[in-house]
Amino acid sequence: MGRLRARFWALWAALPQVGRDLGVTVALLALASLGCWFLLQYTGQENNSALVYVLAVVLISLLTNGYGYAVAAALVGGFCTNYYFMYPYAQFSLELAGYPVAMLSMVAISLVVCTLTARVKIQAEEAQQREQSTRALYELNEKLDREKAAIRLEKDREAMRSNILRSVSHDLRTPLTAISGAAAVLLEEDLGERNASLVSDIKTDADSLITMVENLLSVTRLQSEAAAIQKRPELLEEVAGDAVLLLRRRFPEAEVELILPQDVLVVPMDPLLIRQVIFNLLENAVRHSGAPGSLSLNLFREGEWAVTQVADQGRGLSHEVLAALAQGRDLPAQEGDASRGMGIGLSVCRSIVAAHGGSLEAENRSWGGAVFRFRLPM
């Protein structure tokens, strides 16, 4: 039985709208007619039939779409009342006194009622639609808020990471300066050879940590201001000269020859970052080439590019390093202390040069030694 009912409702739902409305109309009219027939049979009173039909019309206008069905039902109801349920039975007559009035008023009441219900229904539908769109809007809003929050969180997280790196680097810088400075003061005094060499080691290591911290700070600066490095026109030779002075202060034994071009190279750049690049390249050559003696730092112009080239006379670069540089990969992790810091230094160079719209390359010269070269747009 239950299954049958379910089947019926499924069928009902599958019917087109017109079919359903027609069904409702016919069913209710039939029910009303049956009711009137009973009333006439058992009470003999005929005046109530009009009211039964009015009730049916109200229900029809509630359950169907638009005016049409209810109006049709009102007309059918008026006709049936007259034809079947009033004297003379089974014939249409407007002759008895009051009949036309009763007929017309019944049809009129039906029409008014069905207009009113139709209007109420439309209003109810509108209210429902409003509620639905309000809810949809609300949900959309909530979704947007959630997405915004997620983006903000991601941004915050990125900023925090970079802030942490920066503040750690800052915090490292002060004690490292103090360590290196204190060691330098001690070295001025008469320590004896054994102590002096230990203190000198302390100073050397503190200094190379300082370089590393400066590299980290440069990277965080690049990351936090990626879109906006403060570029302004600088003399490349001044920046290069300063890098050489810095190197000489750190490695007094290093010999660097700075070769200037005839024309003046004015290049838009952040001078401190580019100085870091040149310093890193020179420092790499001093520490890793195996021949810290004589380096050349060459500045020249190639079309619209200003080229800076660092050449050493050492053992040259290994295939792994050359391949990694050519493909823009990070350097392979190296064994041993000799190459400590080389990878960081070079990848910092590459990101700084890239942020300036330039490129970094390396090669071995056929007669020995490695060449690092980077070009910046003028």
């Binding site: 490292l176 204190a182 660097v256």
Partner: protein
């Protein structure tokens, strides 16, 4: 020199420690102060000959300390700023506000001592100049700049400088050893209404260097202060 009193304003105890130790090893008398207020108190009670001033202090802005030191009329005690590398605009501001020189952290002992020597020498020269000893001829190593005849010589050979190039060299000599900011040089040479673009100054400087036969990696006369300005390199 043994009674040259140097006020060291630095809140990091370890840094202050090694600076003071280095100063006393070099024969100066250091006077440490850990904050801005303490620095001002010590300054007015002890009247030091030079102030080393860290710009990042816990209780006061270092620039504010500088302002208060400079408020006293006729006050010329040289001030050297200690500053972190990435606060470039701050050190230019400090120089324009009357600081004599700056040292960038992380710094080494020799650098600090060299800056102190230069600044003290410069300060004594300025007070001589204030006494009316105006100079017409400046000589630094092999470089001679003659203000009267508008001539410049390197190692006895005359160097032909344009008018602006000569003005730049003259300014560097007058303020021998002191950093001159780009802004200062631009205004002095090209007048107060020049645009902020300092490219013209840089190109002039590059030309001066070529005429003097100067290589920036081995400066003999002109030292570049990256992002700040230039100074004349005095021997020592």
């Amino acid at each position: 020199m043994d009674d040259t009193l140097i006020l060291v304003v630095e809140d990091e105890r370890t840094i202050s420690n090694f600076i003071c130790r280095a100063l006393s090893s070099a024969g100066y008398k250091p006077l440490p102060a850990a904050g801005g207020k303490e620095a001002l108190t010590l300054y007015f009670s002890h009247r030091p000959d030079l102030v080393l001033l860290d710009l990042g202090l816990p209780d006061m802005d270092g620039l504010e300390v500088l302002t208060q030191l400079r408020e006293e009329p006729g006050e010329e005690t040289p001030v050297i700023i200690l500053t972190a590398r990435d606060r470039e605009s701050e050190k230019v501001k400090a120089l324009d506000m009357g600081a004599d020189d700056y040292i960038v952290k992380p710094f080494g002992v020799p650098e600090v001592l060299a800056r102190i020597r230069t600044t003290l020498r410069h300060a004594s020269r300025v007070s001589q100049a204030a006494l009316g000893k105006k100079r017409a001829r400046y000589q630094v190593g092999g470089l001679v700049v003659d203000s009267d005849s508008h001539q410049a010589f390197v190692e006895g050979r005359e160097v032909h400088l344009t008018q602006n190039e000569f003005k730049i060299m003259e300014l560097l000599c007058i303020h021998g050893g002191k950093v001159l900011t780009y802004d200062f040089l631009l205004k002095q040479v090209w007048g107060p209404y020049t645009s902020g673009d300092n490219q013209i100054l840089r190109v002039n400087m590059a030309n001066i260097r070529r005429k003097l036969g100067e290589n920036p990696s081995r400066p003999k006369y002109i030292l570049t202060e990256l992002g700040v300005g230039y100074r004349l390199l005095e021997d020592g």
